[in-house]
């Protein structure tokens, strides 16, 4: 079978490629690496750490809420906890974890040797890590953000919330937004220019569709919240009147700007994860995804419509009826492309031959949770119904079903699925099943009753509730479920750590999957592919079995490109090779730039303008060094192996 050939490059040649691409050893290499695989794993590890921190915040809140009138937390402490929980999960876990998957997998899936901008990749990670620390800098001072993750004015204006907490929030989100923007640009350009020859856009994995859609959307949505945060910081620091009623400012302007970002953002949090399922589930159904084109188009359509529904977070604000009606209708219609994806997965499972391994359990569980979250979603999309449901625990139930159901469950399933590729070992299957069932049952015990207490009228964002409303029993059940769910996460983590040293060895393709990342070793060499593949179909490794195309993908002959760090650049639509791309190697510039930006934001936070100025000057200096042009290289004839 020609397509599953091992790359039969001579060992000496392979060693030359490895030496060219390997990160330098030691501390220098650790700080200077631009290897997308290392950066991807850092994103994954860091986001899981934030997941655990956010989870602990949630568990403490659930103890406080387990019974009415509990005095574990003072109201101010509770308010900081729920604000931090939201910020941590939505900003510091949910998108970065998907960036981690995409960073690690994209070049492997696309048949390339690196992302389009390797140093920008490193930069986006350092900015993420440093901005995450920045957002937490208030915690030891008892000044964590306390306005909720949505931070409505006027409560978060200086008059009502004078501490440094909201300044940390506002500046921290602008800081994090830089990481998101540069990372998104990297994904977009990587997609357009560095796919393997022959990988036309209708042959890309759905994860790639999902991430590029989310990245393009982020480029257009993040500036909205960055602007809102800047305006808020200007109101608080310099007495501006963007939102201050006394100076003819408008509190609702904050909500428009925030949700114009916030709604596209939540689709950015789930579309790549849906892509994970669309790529990995079919492997466990032993058949290609049903309706690839429909699912790819549904991904883009969902995101586009997602820019036109933001007012559904504002149904109760007293906006004109015409606006409310339009946005309600749009919010209901957006469920249609999601339905395309759901029925595609159901059809794939039903018409396939399911293999009930741990990843499959997570993906099947995800479909169930998606449907429940989707139903509660289109219920709240109806403005008339939303006037009862909004700001109650019903919405808390909805958002957790969609965020954990559509982000966390695919992420954990995805880790079980790609762990062998990343480490060369399988995760434990038995512990995997235990972790799935504990998580799934615990999740539903914790979050399903929230629909009920929401319908009973329990408000969100409250540190306690009266004893005479009959909510105590449900809340106790919810808290128990939360701890059970946490135990499931713990089992998953134990499995992860144990498998690192004791997992069964995995070959290049333990799941017998079709996409390119499984054509190279586990873990991949630093240069990903000895020979850059030439792609002829959506499922390069299943071509003989599927016979969907006449040609065969070539994995053992093609571009070698071993003069320094090189990969092939291709045309955007059809992926025809048209340029050799020389990639930068290890560099401390990304870390340097990130540290200068950190200095800038710390200066702004403290109103220490000289320090901020130094940070800005340093950043400009690093940028000049970064962008300084190298001597041009003449056109060349590429080295190939054929």
């Amino acid at each position: 079978m020609a397509t599953i050939a091992r790359n039969r490059l001579p060992d000496q040649e392979r060693e030359k490629l490895r030496a060219t691409w390997e990160t330098a050893p030691g501390v220098y290499g650790w700080f200077a690496t631009v290897d997308h695989k290392q950066i991807g794993i850092r994103y994954l590890v860091t986001s899981i750490v934030f997941l655990l921190i956010g989870g602990v915040e949630a568990l403490v809140m659930r103890v406080q809420l387990a019974q009415p009138g509990m005095k574990l937390l003072a109201p101010e402490q509770y308010d900081q906890l729920f604000s931090l929980h939201g910020v941590t999960m939505i900003f510091l876990y949910a998108l970065p974890v998907l960036s981690g998957f995409s960073n690690y997998l994209w070049p492997l899936m696309l048949g390339s040797r690196d992302m389009a901008f390797p140093r920008v990749n490193a930069l986006s990670y350092w900015l993420y890590l440093l901005s995450g620390v920045f957002l937490y800098v208030g915690v030891p001072l008892g000044q964590a953000p306390n306005g909720g993750w949505f931070n409505y004015v006027p409560y978060t204006s200086r008059e009502y919330d004078p501490g440094i907490n909201i300044d940390i929030y506002a500046l921290g989100l602008i800081f994090l937004g830089i990481s998101t923007a540069v990372g998104s640009a990297n994904f977009v350009v990587t997609l357009l220019r560095t796919r393997a020859p022959g990988m036309s856009i209708n042959r890309m994995p759905i994860l790639v569709w999902g991430t590029v859609t989310a990245s393009a959307a982020n480029l257009l949505a993040v500036p909205s919240v960055s602007l809102a945060c800047l305006m808020l910081w200007l109101d608080r620091s310099f007495g501006a009147h963007f939102f201050e009623v006394s100076g003819h400012g408008q509190p609702l302007l904050w909500q428009h700007l925030f949700w114009a970002f916030g709604h596209p953002w939540v689709y950015a949090l789930v579309l790549p994860a849906m892509g994970i399922v669309s790529d990995a589930l079919p492997v466990f159904c032993r058949r290609p995804l049903v309706g690839y084109t429909a699912v790819a188009l549904a991904t883009v359509t969902t995101m586009v419509i997602g820019f036109g529904v933001w007012v559904h977070h504002m149904f109760a604000t007293g906006l004109p009826a015409m606006a409310i009606s339009f946005f309600s209708a749009a919010s209901i219609i957006i469920a249609i492309p999601s339905a395309i994806a759901v029925f595609s997965w159901l059809a794939t499972i039903w018409t396939g031959q399911p293999v009930f391994r741990t990843p499959f359990l997570f993906f099947a569980g995800f479909v169930i949770l998606f449907v429940i979250g989707g139903v509660s979603g289109f219920m709240t999309a109806s403005a008339a119904l939303d006037w009862q449901l909004t700001d109650t625990y019903f919405v808390v139930a909805h958002l957790h079903y969609v965020l954990l159901g559509i982000n966390l469950f695919p992420v954990v399933g995805g880790i079980y699925y790609w762990f062998p590729k990343m480490t060369g070992r399988m995760m434990g299957e038995r512990l995997g099943r235990w972790s799935f069932w504990t998580m799934f049952i615990g999740f539903n015990i914790a979050f399903f009753p929230m629909h009920v207490v929401g319908l009973e009228g329990m408000p969100r964002r409250v540190y306690t509730y009266p004893a005479d409303l009959g909510l105590g029993g449900w809340n106790l059940l919810i808290s128990v479920g939360a701890f059970l769910f946490a135990a499931g996460i713990l089992l998953f983590l134990v499995n992860l750590v144990l498998s690192l040293s004791r997992g069964a060895p995995a070959g290049p393709n333990p799941w017998d999957a079709p996409t390119l990342e499984w054509a190279t070793s586990s873990p991949p060499p630093p240069h990903n592919f000895d020979i850059i593949p030439i792609v002829a179909s959506r499922h390069p490794l299943w071509e003989d079995r599927l016979e969907e195309v006449e040609e065969r993908s070539q994995l053992d002959r093609g571009y070698l490109l071993d003069v320094g760090r090189e990969t092939i650049g291709t045309t955007p639509m059809d992926a025809e090779p048209n340029v050799i791309l020389r990639m930068p190697g290890d560099s401390l510039l990304p870390l340097g730039l990130a540290l200068c930006v950190t200095l800038l934001f710390l200066g702004l936070l403290a109103h220490a303008w000289v320090i901020a100025g130094l940070g800005l000057a340093g950043a400009l200096g690093v940028l000049v060094a970064w962008l300084a042009p190298a001597p041009p290289v003449e056109a060349q004839k590429a080295r190939i192996y054929a």
């Binding site: 009502y160 290609p288 049903v290 031959q353």
Partner: protein
Amino acid sequence: MRRDAGGMRWIYIGVSVSTVALIASAIWTLLTLRAVAQPGGGVTPLAISVTGHQWWWEATYPGAEPDGTFRTASEIHIPTNVPVRLELRADDVIHSFWVPKLAGKTDVIPGRVNSMWIEARTPGVYRGQCMEYCGVEHALMAFRVVAEPPAQFAAWRRRQLAGASTGASIAPGYRVFARRCSACHAIRGTESGGIYGPDLTNLSGRATLASGTLPNTPANLARWIAHPQAVKPGARMPDIDLPPGEMQPLVAYLETR
């Protein structure tokens, strides 16, 4: 391995059925929005102005007669079978007004007047709560809508307008009030006209204290006056330290207003 493109039928049928359900839901939504936009005709609506504060609710009843406008707090009385138009304002930050059994919620936003209407068919007490995070005591910002037959509502309204009656036996309590409370609180019919805190006219007629936080009993009232920060940490009312010789008359006075 399954090779064919079968399974597309799932998508066609599934999406078609979903689309029909979604469109039906959209139509229902638009029809319902139109139906609840205005009260049924026939009866002259009553207008009440509601203002949200950190962390209590104020209601102002406009009156046609001279000096016919009065304020109250935490309990909003309405007549049954009369549509009530609420004008919603916020004094400080965004809150949200919700009486689940009577209507959907509407935010109160500083710098803006929102309006909604409610109508109670059956007499009774309807619980409401602030539904938009507004600070530390957002959790303890409830209120009650008391719907009563028009005759009883009219009687309540007259009592509110009449305000306090001074009787000699309870004057000592009033003196404490005037000295320690009137900077922030008002009682109609006396010289106390403080506007920062809730209007306490006929406090004895209310079932709860501190915006639905405590049942209205003399013991709770004393506790609230002495240590509001222990009951509702962060509330705008400071602890008022009164010796028993002053607290008891004050509580007695307030509980008979």
